[in-house]
């Protein structure tokens, strides 16, 4: 009885031209600027709450404050004490959730699909630490926040999860905030990145490479 297939939308208005891929309305833009910003909200985001040192924690293999990819290419982020965020290709929410749910753990375990509740942004380029220094009080030096570091702090006065996730040797960060402020965070990052020549790059499914 419903004619139209539902279209999912990110809280961040896609930079034109837009297209519909993976069931999401996304920007079809492509940039080869040194500093790029991409709305990665379409990625599957699964939130896991479980005991900090239980079976599930061991299976996930990532402590609070770190992020790493599992064998499926899912980025497992230790986003809080007893809290993990799993990032995977669009549409894989249920599959990722199921992989977690099969692990037996004595403690209370909750698995949520957080895809809709959060906005996810990636910034890439050698000057990303300079950009972030304008909006966040955390030290982005290698010794303090190396590749694979994950933390939550205030970014442009907004509570944000930050993951250092270099790709192909390029400095890269994932920023993850509560959905309704996604546009605000995106705009704040573009404003801060303006002096470094930031450009919007459209979202592309990471496919087999994982997230």
């Amino acid at each position: 009885m419903v004619e139209r297939a539902p279209v999912a939308r990110s809280p961040i208005a896609p930079a034109p031209p837009t297209t519909i891929e993976y069931g999401w309305e996304i920007s079809a833009r492509s940039s080869d600027a040194e500093l790029k910003i991409t709305d990665c909200t379409p990625l599957a985001k699964v939130l896991v709450l479980a005991p900090m040192y239980g079976e599930l924690a061991r299976a996930l293999g990532v402590p609070f404050g770190r992020a790493a990819r599992d064998t499926h290419g899912t980025l497992v982020v230790g986003s809080g004490p007893g809290e993990w965020l799993l990032l995977a290709a669009p549409g894989t929410n249920q599959a990722v959730g199921k992989r977690v749910e099969v692990v037996q753990d004595e403690g209370l375990v909750s698995v949520f699909d957080a895809t809709h509740g959060r906005a996810l942004i990636r910034i890439t380029g050698p000057r990303t630490p300079d950009l972030l220094a304008k909006v966040c009080a955390i030290d982005f030096a290698d010794e303090v926040t190396p590749d694979g570091a994950a933390f939550r702090s205030s970014v442009a006065k907004l509570v944000t999860d930050v993951v250092r996730d270099d790709s192909g040797g390029a400095r890269s960060y994932l920023l993850h905030c509560e959905r309704s402020s996604g546009q605000y965070l995106f705009d704040a990052l573009i404003d801060a990145g303006d002096e470094f020549g930031i450009e919007v790059d459209g979202f592309v499914d990471p496919g087999d490479r994982g997230v």
Binding site: R4, A5, P11, T41, H116, K134, V144, K157, S180
Partner: protein, 942 residues
């Protein structure tokens, strides 16, 4: 008359780049690298401003940022430090606070009657009568200095950034540079901050050996990869845990940038500030400091005068005399303070110095007096680090007494010595700073011990050279050039009983002007000591506070971060021209043009409202009922699956804190809703109870406010509309009655849940949709319900609807004293529960009579809407209640209210008197129910 000299080895001007700018309405030539004042001085100009109080002509004194007589207006920017700011082609520079002109200022008459403006003059004179205060204020304001602020808002881009240097070096003179290099070599990331445009400090205006040392140090800095140099930047303050504010000015793309640095170690190397000498005529144009003379000659190739007297107590004075001689100035006499020489007064006037009278009686004609009487250590930063500097008689200046571990000093603030000794000391200091920073870094990163920790470095102390203590000569003169405070004023203040330096400061305003004590503080202390017969040490010094130098408001305001929140349906609201309502961080539609017809459409057809901001928490685990029982006043252990219940929360003081519904979606799965504004507070409240009091409860709480787009579908046709797009839910009244929750597909979207509520008083379904599909579902509802007359409604319509229905809003109809018994919810409070928040207070509340009660009210004149917060009164002036909500009801065609009234007025039908804000009194009657419309609730249960 050109005063420009031939090429100087250390000059900073670019003679290839010649251009013009405007000063005081006329065009002047300048070179690249000139400051405003050096360019003017090169053209023979000597007067750049009029003083603050007496409007005396002022010229150069320090030829640096500090120079009190060189504040000018540049285009529409006031109070520019003319002896620091580099001149640019086409700049329009004008003098400040002069009337009618710089050359002839009528207010300088004050100077002649100077005794009327002595210490405390304003306090004493303009006190009585009080009614004339506004007149005094207008009159006095015309006499104050300062430039003109542009009336149009600033459009400049100001910036902020954070920095995390291991070692922050404040001051880029030889000691600062050497410390920075040593710290960088020891592996530290160093931020080197220098107030002037380039590194080097006093070496820049030095002799050939000093210039060679400068080149070597600059080379070392440039070749050290760990050093970030910030020229034309100032360390404005040092706060707890070495939080250091740096104002960065030397930027091409932004006006100014506030750098918030968390330095692991702070090295304070500000050098020394040359102190003026107090004597009669010491502010006459042509009386300059030795460092000013050396800067003018060696940096800008400007001859400061034609015939000079030099009063010298140190090497800087001697060197200035040599510089003057080398640049063709006739040095008429060098008065040597070390051999008992002194100067008594300067004779001159509006055009500047004419002659100098020496203590041996000689009067020497000249146009320039250069003084070199000693140094002030700028102890601001060490002061801010908790240090109380102590006076050293031998060196005649202040030194630090006790520094915290994360602050070190080097250079002139730490002692004297040859350049080699100072650099060696600075290197040791820099190395030690790096070592301490590494220790702190380990603590910041979690305290992982290093295999081998370096032992503390031995830093040998610097020698202290003997220096004559010269503050005031035999005559009285200006102490504070910015505030026009004389030494006589200080003496007067002391005689009037202000015997502490802090009191004298506030009474006379000495050290309170733009120079903020850097030039005048120690002289003021010395004069106070002299007057009271105490030592300088006993007199003490005033406390230096941030900022070190004046800061623009733009730099402090900077980029403003103000997070905002939007619902997934925001693009639709914008296209439909919704009037935005700012509710906390949320931007919501207030209405779409006509709230009254939005109300009627809900009553007659069906309306949809975006209620996404409603706070929502996903609660999972076996112990959720325990938590609900604890937070809400009512009972929760018996809520069946598929049901929804209304609850009220109180804080421990028994005051209503939040309300909302919670539904049970599964055996151990609940969703709690809160008010939009209460969501953050409730979230923390829950975290607090679970983390500190009941960590054993097995519960997971996840805020899901924006994980779901929430749409309330309300109106008699709401069921019909939802039937068209809902799958997997039986919407018939028997299968899905009032206060129930169901899960299903809506408009093809999986994972939705909906519950039936009655906030608007109509049959309504609150539909919660995975947020990314919110816009899709909203658009589908609008499309598929067109024939049913579906329309959007905003917050205003919802407020009217709920008021018609008599529902109170926490924070609107309740305040910080309202308990559940006051709003008709006493029956909900279950005092037989073992424990819940606020229980003792609620038990006491239940026994107390006489509190105000919430009632429905209708003014007798149905066309009159008493403004919210109108008082309800009795007799002449007794307040017995207030209106908390009021609107014109489109449904009833009359005004309706909720309000608090005293207990004896609560009986339905009681007539009360409402006093409107204008004082007019109108009658109103208490209604039988809070609800003005459908009090039995038949419509919402349908």
């Amino acid at each position: 008359m050109s005063m420009r000299l031939d090429h100087r080895p250390g000059e900073v001007i670019d003679r290839q780049r010649e251009f013009t700018f405007t000063w005081n309405g006329e065009e002047y030539p300048a070179y690249g690298g000139d400051t405003i004042i050096s360019a003017l001085a090169a053209c023979g100009e000597r007067i750049f401003s009029r003083s603050f109080k007496y409007h005396r002509p002022r010229g150069l004194l320090t030829a640096s940022f500090l120079d009190p007589g060189c504040m000018v207006q540049v285009d529409d920017e006031p109070n520019v430090r003319g002896a620091h700011r580099r001149v640019e082609p086409g700049m329009v520079v004008s003098p400040q606070g002069v009337w009618p002109s710089l050359e002839y200022d009528v207010k300088s008459a004050n100077g002649a009657f100077g005794r009327f403006l002595s210490a405390g003059f304003y306090y004493k004179t303009f006190i009585k009568p009080r009614r004339l205060w506004p007149v005094y204020r207008r009159m006095l304001r015309r006499f104050s200095a300062g430039g003109t602020v542009s009336a149009s808002p600033a459009q400049d881009y100001f910036d902020k950034r954070y920095a995390h240097p291991d070692v922050l070096v404040a001051g880029g003179g030889p000691a600062g540079m050497a410390a920075a290099v040593a710290a960088a070599r020891a592996g530290a990331q160093v931020l080197l901050v220098e107030e002037e445009y380039e590194l080097g400090g006093y070496l820049r205006w030095g002799d050939e050996a000093e210039l060679a040392a400068l080149r070597a140090l600059r080379e070392e800095v440039a070749s050290s990869p760990g050093i970030e140099v910030m020229p034309n930047s100032v360390v404005e303050g040092r706060y707890d845990d070495n939080w250091v504010a740096v104002m960065q000015r030397d930027l091409s793309h932004v006006e100014e940038r506030l750098v918030k640095a968390r330095a692991k170690t702070l090295v304070v190397a500000p050098g020394l500030i040359e102190r003026p000498y107090v004597f009669e005529g010491n502010d006459t144009p042509g009386v300059i400091l030795s460092t000013a003379a050396r800067r003018l000659i060696n940096l800008y190739a400007v001859k400061p005068g034609e015939r000079a007297v030099v009063f010298s107590a140190n090497e800087s004075g001697d060197a200035a005399a040599e510089d003057l001689a080398r640049s063709g100035v006739e040095v008429a006499r060098v008065v040597d303070a070390r051999r008992g020489g002194d100067i008594v007064r300067v004779k001159g006037g509006g055009k500047g110095v004419r002659a100098v009278e020496c203590s041996d009686g000689a009067e020497i004609e000249c146009d320039l007096l250069v003084t070199a009487v000693g140094w002030t250590a700028p102890t601001s930063l060490i002061n801010m680090a908790g240090d109380r500097p102590v006076y050293n008689e031998r060196a005649a200046r202040f030194f630090s007494s006790h520094l915290p571990d994360d602050v070190l000093t080097c250079g002139g603030i730490a002692g004297d010595g040859t350049l080699e000794e100072l650099i060696e000391h600075a290197r040791a200091t820099g190395g030690e700073a790096a070592r301490r920073a590494a220790k702190t870094a380990r603590r910041l990163r979690g305290g992982i011990p290093l295999e081998s920790e370096a032992p503390p470095a031995e830093i040998s102390e610097l020698p202290l050279y003997e220096h004559p203590a010269l503050f005031r000569g035999k005559t009285h003169g200006i102490v504070d050039y910015s505030e026009d405070v004389t030494s006589k004023d200080l003496v007067t203040a002391e005689k009037e009983g202000y015997d502490s330096i802090e009191l004298v400061k506030r009474y006379t305003t000495v050290t309170m002007g733009p120079a903020q004590g850097k030039l005048e503080s120690v002289n003021a202390v010395a004069i106070m000591a002299e007057t009271t017969g105490r030592t300088i040490e006993e007199t003490g010094t005033t406390v230096w506070r941030p900022p070190y130098s004046p800061v623009t408001l733009g730099a402090l305001a900077g980029r403003i971060f103000e997070p905002v929140r939007y619902s997934p349906m925001q693009p639709w609201h914008e296209i439909r021209g919704a009037k935005p309502l700012v509710a906390g961080a949320w931007i919501r539609p207030d209405h779409y043009g006509d709230p009254a017809s939005e109300v009627l459409n809900v009553r007659e057809n069906v309306g949809i409202i975006d209620v996404t901001p409603l706070g929502k928490f996903d609660l999972r685990g076996p112990d959720v009922p325990k938590l609900l029982n604890h937070l809400y006043v009512n009972r929760w252990d018996n809520l069946e699956e598929g049901r929804v219940r209304y609850g009220v929360m109180c804080l421990e003081d028994g005051v209503v804190f939040d309300d909302g519904v919670t539904g049970r979606l599964g055996p151990e799965w609940y969703v709690m809703t809160t008010t939009s504004s209460g969501a953050a507070g409730v979230g923390e409240w829950i975290d607090n109870w679970l983390q500190t009091a009941h960590p054993g409860w097995r519960i997971h709480v996840t805020p899901v406010t924006t994980a779901y787009a929430s749409i309330n579908v309300a109106g008699p046709k709401s069921r019909e509309l939802l039937l068209r797009l809902t799958e997997g839910v039986d919407l018939s009244p028997d299968a899905f009655p009032y206060m129930r929750v169901r899960e299903g597909r809506v408009a093809g979207v999986e994972g939705c849940f909906m519950w039936r509520l009655g906030f608007t008083g109509e049959l309504s379904y609150e539909v919660h949709v995975p947020a990314a599909y919110g816009l899709h579902v909203w658009e589908t509802l609008m499309q598929r319900g067109a024939d049913l007359g579906v329309g959007p409604f905003g917050v205003e319509a919802q407020r009217i609807l709920r008021l018609e229905k008599g529902h109170f809003i926490v924070g609107q109809d309740t305040d910080g004293l309202t308990g559940p018994y006051d709003v008709g919810l006493g029956r909900m409070v279950k005092l037989d529960k073992d424990d819940f928040t606020g229980k003792p207070e609620l038990a006491w509340q239940s026994e107390i009579n006489g509190r105000l009660q919430l009632v429905g009210l209708q003014p007798h004149d149905g066309s009159l809407v008493p403004p919210e917060a109108s008082q309800i009164v009795e007799g002449e002036s007794e307040i017995v209640g207030r209106i908390t909500s009021s609107r014109m009801s489109p449904t009833l065609g009359r005004s309706i209210c909720l309000g608090f009234v005293a207990e004896h007025l609560t009986t339905p039908g009681t007539k009360v008197v409402v006093q409107l804000p204008g004082g007019e009194r109108v009658p109103a009657s208490v209604t039988p129910h809070h609800a003005h419309y459908d009090p039995e609730g038949t419509r919402q249960r349908g």
